[in-house]
Structures are given as C-alpha cells and as structure tokens.
C-alpha cells in the first residue's frame, strides 16, 4: 500500500491501516467510506480548521497559522475526492471573497482515520476507568528498575500500569540519594516545590512536617494546599531498619465511587463544596479552596484532595457546616476500611510511584525508631507520563511506517 504524500499537522507518523474508498459530499459535511466498511463524517468547518497545507500550518513548527475566525462562517467545498496518493482532497469555495484564490486541503488517510469522530471511532479511543481495592490488587504492579533505565518497552509497561491503576512499585533502584532523579528523568521534568526538587522523609527532632516524625500519617495526597497538587509522587526507600511504618495505598477513585453509589447527598457535598487547605510553615503560606472530590463537567473523576492535617478551618455558610462534616467523616471512614487498603512494606532499593491525586497514601506508626529509616522523594506530573508514553508510541509508529514503506510493492 502506497503511503500518502499529504502533509500532516504534527510530527507524528500515521500508519495507513485502512484506506479511503470513497468521499461523498453532503450539505455540511463530507462522508468517507473506509476499506474496512466504517464510515466517518467530517464537517466542512472541522476539515477547513484542520487543513495541514503550508499556508495553514508553519512547516517548521507544525503549528497552525490559519485562524478560523478570519474566514466566513459559510465554508463549503467546490469539489471533494480521494486523490491519487490516497488522501482526501477538498477544494474550497473562496468563502465569500471572490478575489481569494481557491484553497485546497489534502488529508492523509492515516491521520484522518486516527482523528475521525464518528461514534465507532470515538468508542475505540475511549478509556474505561478501572478502580481497585485490597482484594482486586493485593500488591502494587511491580517492575524492574534496571530494565526501565535502558529499555523503552519496559518503561512503557511501567508507565501504563501507573497510569491505569495510579499505583506501582519499582525494584532494583540503586540505594543512592540521586537515583530517584535518574528514574524520574526517564519520564520527564521533576516538579520543584517548597520541599525542594528532591526531598527526604526521615524522623527528625525538629521536623517541618508530620511526615518527618514517627507519627502515623492518615491517608492523604501530598500538597492539597497547592492550587496544583502534584500529579505523580515517587518515594525511594534507601534505608529501613525500623519496625512499623508500613506503607498503605487506597484508591481514592474507588472511595468516590462508593460514596456516589451509597451516599449521594454526601457525594454532592464532597464534589461541590470547597474545603480550605493550608500548609503550616514559617517560610511559606500556601492555601487553596477545593472540594475533596473534583469532577469534570461530565461527572468523571479528575482528582481527590484529601489530607486531614493540611486543612485550614472550614469556611462555609453556617447552615452547611454539619453536612460538610458528615460527608468528611464518611470519606475518612472509607479511607480506613481495611478491605480497601493495599498494604506493603517498602524495602531498600524499592520505589513506590503513584498518582498523587488519585491514590491516597498513608503510613503506619513507626513503633521502634531505634533503627534508621530514610526515604527520598520527588514529584512530577501526569502529563509528563502521558507525553513519554506517546513519544514511545510515536517511535513505534515511525518504525511501522518505515517498514511498510520499505516493503511496499509501489515503492
């Protein structure tokens, strides 16, 4: 199968798994038929907006120069066809200005198929949220740090699990103070905060945070006090001679689902009423207001904001206070339900990596602190992870296209 020579508005490769068989004009859209029988409709305005030609897209940056707002709202094609290279070719009417030369757009079939928005194509792209508890996920998905450091496929497997479950464990990470930076460097940029770029968790005589005491830590996310809670957290165990201090993870999204199902009034409070969050520090004063469960406009879960000791006093109208505390208590009771908890002990050379805004983490009390315990941590973001996964997928597609082109009889 010949590769299309049409430009695309990105740096990606687009294997052509299905060719265009026909293109049919309709009043406001073009319907195409694919070689596997699927049909996709593309609105004229959508096609014009996505024209990849060198007048519309800067070919050095692949960023759009064309602005839809500069054209007439009455966009329609003069002619539509499948071109000799297999691309969808659209010749546009001048758009109200008869002096404009007609504009021609060519859409690469691989690119077009990938961005089709018919129901079947959208369903195929859909990701289903899978939540877990201590039964369905008795231990964190576990990976080998030595492979992750050198092999993109191993890196991809780890990141896929972390993205899907929000929790993971990496073993065989060198017990050195900067090893966590090397591991996270495989993903992307470390997020610096008031704790620094890398930070320590150890019992201290003069702690700046309850994390650095021997106290148990209730299930929480880190930095709910910030407008942007870090998306990913990495904790590297370098030394652990203590008793106690067991690691606990809970799927915050499972808790949200349980409350939504069994306690809808509490869910309404938890998703709509802003609670107050504040760090305690002599050198900074971060505060933010946010519901404990944050959902998108379509109701899907976006993040949890939970941390008992990082709240500022509740600041809501008088008549809402009791409802808020009832809902708050409900959520915290669930975080302590043992069947929802994943419990394990992080050993030296192991990293726990988790979605800091989905997986609540907790620590059992350090019952014997005569030994030393030293963890090193850092933060990154969800979209650093997804960018890295996409770049690995992009490299795979590039190889796929190169192979198809090399073996094509039309070459």
């Amino acid at each position: 199968m010949a590769d299309s020579t049409a430009l695309t508005p990105d740096f990606d490769s687009h294997p052509i798994d299905h060719t265009l068989v026909a293109a049919l004009a309709a009043p406001a859209w073009i319907e195409v038929v694919w070689s596997d029988g699927r049909t996709s409709r593309f609105h004229h305005v959508w096609l014009r907006d996505n024209c990849p030609c060198e007048r519309c897209v800067h070919q050095g940056t692949k960023e759009q120069m064309f602005e839809l707002v500069t054209t007439s709202a009455d966009l329609h094609p003069l002619d539509t066809s499948v071109g000799p290279t297999g691309a969808l070719v659209v010749l546009w009417a001048s758009g109200g200005n008869p002096h404009d030369p007609p504009h021609c757009s060519e859409f690469h079939p691989g690119w077009l198929r990938r961005h089709a928005y018919d129901d079947a194509s959208r369903r195929a792209r859909n990701r289903t949220l899978i939540t877990w508890d201590g039964q369905s996920l008795p231990e964190p998905p576990t990976f080998d740090g030595r492979a992750i450091m050198v092999d993109d496929d191993a890196l991809y497997e780890w990141l896929g699990a972390l993205d899907r479950f929000g929790v993971s464990r990496v073993q065989h990470v060198p017990c050195e103070v900067d090893a966590i930076a090397d591991l996270v460097g495989r993903i992307g940029i470390i997020r610096e905060t008031n704790f620094g770029l890398l930070w320590d968790v150890k019992s201290e005589s003069n702690p700046i945070s309850n994390a650095n005491t021997s106290l148990p830590l209730p299930p929480h996310v880190d930095l709910p006090t910030r407008e942007y809670q870090p998306g990913l957290q990495f904790l590297h165990c370098i030394l652990n001679e203590t008793a106690g201090g067991e690691n606990i993870l809970v799927d915050g999204y499972r808790i949200a689902e349980l409350i939504r199902e069994h306690h809808p009034a509490d869910y309404e409070v938890l998703t709509t009423v802003p609670f107050e969050w504040a760090n305690r520090s002599r050198t900074s004063d971060y505060r933010w207001s946010s519901p404990l469960i944050v959902i998108d406009a379509d109701g899907s879960l976006r993040e949890m904001r939970v941390g008992n000791w990082l709240r500022a006093p509740l600041d809501v109208p008088f008549e809402m206070v009791e409802d808020c505390y009832r809902a708050y208590r409900r959520l915290f009771e669930l975080t302590y339900r043992s069947d929802l908890q994943l419990r394990f002990r992080l050993e030296p050379g192991e990293v726990m990596a988790f979605d800091n805004r989905r997986a609540l983490h907790a620590r059992g009390e350090l019952t014997d602190t005569s030994g030393r315990r030293f963890l090193r941590g850092c933060y990154s973001e969800r979209d650093e992870l997804r960018s890295r996964m996409r770049m690995i997928e992009r490299a795979r597609r590039e190889r796929q296209v190169a192979t198809a082109t090399a073996s094509s009889p039309d070459r």
Copy 2:
C-alpha cells in the same frame, strides 16, 4: 489589652482587635459575642476539629495529629466560658468513652475572629472579581523593579495589582539574561517546563514554536496543552530594535462575562465541552482536554484555556461539532475586539507579568525584522504569589502584635 496565651494551630500572629464578651451554649453550637457587637456561632464539631492544644496539634510542625474520624459523632461541651486570658474555653464531654479524660480546648480570640464563619465575617473576607477592558485599564498597572527587589511593601503593591487585574508591568529591570529569575525569585519558585526554566523569545530560522517566528500571535495563554497551565507568566524585554510586535493583553474573564451575558448557549458549550489541546514537538507530546472557560462548582471563573494554534482536532460527538465551532468563533471574535484590548510596546528593561490563565496575550506581526528583538521569559504559579503576599501580611501582623504587647499596661 492583654494578649491571649492560648495556642494557635499555625505559625501566624493574630492581633486581637475585638475581644470576646460572652460565650453562650446552644444544642449544636456555641454563640460568642464580640466587643464590637458582632455575634458568631461555631458548631461543636468545628471547634473540636480546630482544637489547637498540644495533644491535637504537633507543636513543632503545627500540623494536626487529632483525627475527627476517631471520635464519636456526638461531640458536645460540658462547659463553655471566656477564660481569664480572653480565650474561648471549651471543656468537652468524653465523647462516648467514659474512661477518656475530658478534653479542654482554648481558642485564641484573634484566631477565632479571623476564622469566624457568620455571614458578616464571611462577607468581609469576600473578594469581588473586577474585570477590565482597554478603556477601564488603558495601560497595565506599572511598578518600579528597583524598589521591588529591596522593599517588601513595594513587592506587595505589585503582587496585589497582578492578583487583582491579572496584568502588570515592571520597569527598571536590568537588561541581563538572568534578571527575570531574580525578580521572580522575590515571589517564589519558577516553574520549569519543556521550554526550560528560563526561555527566549526571538525570531529564529529554525523555530520550535510560532512564538519564535515573526508571525503575529493571536490572543492565547501559554501551554494550554498541559494539564496545569502555568498560572503566572513573566516576559522581560532585553532588546527591541524591531518595528511591530506590539504587545496586546485581553482580560479573558471579561470575555467570559460578555459571552455569559449575551450568548448563554455558547457559554454553556464553552464551559462544559472539552476541546483538545496538543503541543507540536519532536521531543514531547503534551495533550490535555478541557473546556475553553473553566468554572468552579459555584459558577465562578477559574481559568481560560485559549490558543488557536495549540489545539488538537476537535473530538466531540458528531452532532455537537457545529455548536462547538460557533462558540469557538464567538470567543475568538471577542479576543480581537479592539475596545477590549490593552495595547502597548514593551521596552528594554521592562517586564510584563500576567496571570497566564486569565489574561490572554497576543503579539502584532513583526513588520521589520532587520533589527534584533530578544525577550526572556519564565513561569510561576498563582499560589506562589499569594503565599508571598500572605507572608508579608504575616510579618505585618507580627509587628502589630509585638507593638501591642510592648505597650500593654497588663504586661
């Protein structure tokens, strides 16, 4: 007036501008009367949750150890009074367990007044959003960088304006490549992105972004492709020998208000339907989905996500495509309305600092690129700004309390 000796659950100072006159028990709350006649009611559960004693709050970290979820839901006081130091004193019933010793909470009157949630107290804390256009704000609020570098009051004035209007200009910033880092260092942490910690804006022969061409840039926010768009942007003009390239700022919140008022159907689309955002790069592939106007559960504006050339193809159900494009066109038409735009030319030694998620920025075409133009930029976050402002306020309160204590006849 004697300062209360009660602890507070933070490192802040709490001047006592109003003393407690009386504390009255009610079934589910305590009503206090202040020396200025205001009354505030505090629920039992709220008071118990905020107990600042050393059993409830770690006095080294000021972080809470007490967990509400570990107590009975039936919390009530045995006794309530205004103590000899002026604090509200509450002696708690044991909460279901007769073997627990009774717990006593003392609330500092300055702290208590500051966190009161009666209607009058909440109204007094309320911030009203003030939006602007090119008439009401003909030029950006302008400040002296030399003063900002050495004087916290000058820093506070600048940050207050930036927080209120989302735009500002700082003059007399040294024309050196790292001067912008020193200026932003006065606020807090610089946010590193795929552009680096500090980045350059100049016309290049091989640009990675349309920002580094001579093209005009339509009104946009930076990095709408990221889950977390940077909250603050700083652009430092070091050299400008070109013609054109005028700086344009538009209050995105004003545009949102106009659409909400005049085009409610478009507002519904723009606040609920996720558009697709994607950077174009050979080395990263950041994408996110988000409505163009993001509002909180109560309808208040949180952020704009706008950038014509940073969109990925729209991916919504077929029947919504035309509504989405109609609303999109509406928003972009408003960004180009000249009466809404603030236009100025950034001169060498000047920094424009703006809320990157509220103020859309644009650049006129560089009409003569024979001269050199060099801008240096970086990002930070809204909550870094607010933390810095609070720390300056905290220092002021500390001085106020120290002065009041020194001059107190009871000392």
